[in-house]
Symmetry: C2
Subunit: 89 residues, 2 copies
Amino acid sequence: MWKFIGAAAASLTMLSFIPQIARSFRTKHVKDVSPVMLFQLFLGVLLWIIYGVYRKDPIIIIANAVTLSTLAVLIFMYFSYGVKQKGQE
Amino acid sequence: MWKFIGAAAASLTMLSFIPQIARSFRTKHVKDVSPVMLFQLFLGVLLWIIYGVYRKDPIIIIANAVTLSTLAVLIFMYFSYGVKQKGQE
């Protein structure tokens, strides 16, 4: 029961940027998303991975590696759509 | 050194929605932010708090309580600005 709650908590937060990627991909708009938030999260999640490696904790490493890869996609989208929107306006 | 990395990781991710709140407050726009992401994170972070209470881990509880409160602000902004924008367009 408690393991299930922990797993659900980890999955929901780990995969939280998937709906943001889906929305931005559909609308081709990201301008209301804060780039400071994206970079702050990227750095924070990267430090979590380093900390997980030190603690030899595979859960910390895997959860944050998944989040890092979705964040990388979002940052890429931010720059590709951001540049396009500037050109169109 | 490792404690510092862990603390930096926790602080950066815990406070990651502050720049998003600041940006949305400044621009009064949130429409590119995914509401599914916000609710998924809210539920995930809430489950983390419940898990933290069960594990009696104050770090998990405090970190996620801070994130939950910033998420609550963002969800409130999403609805108040979202409704305004619909009315203006």
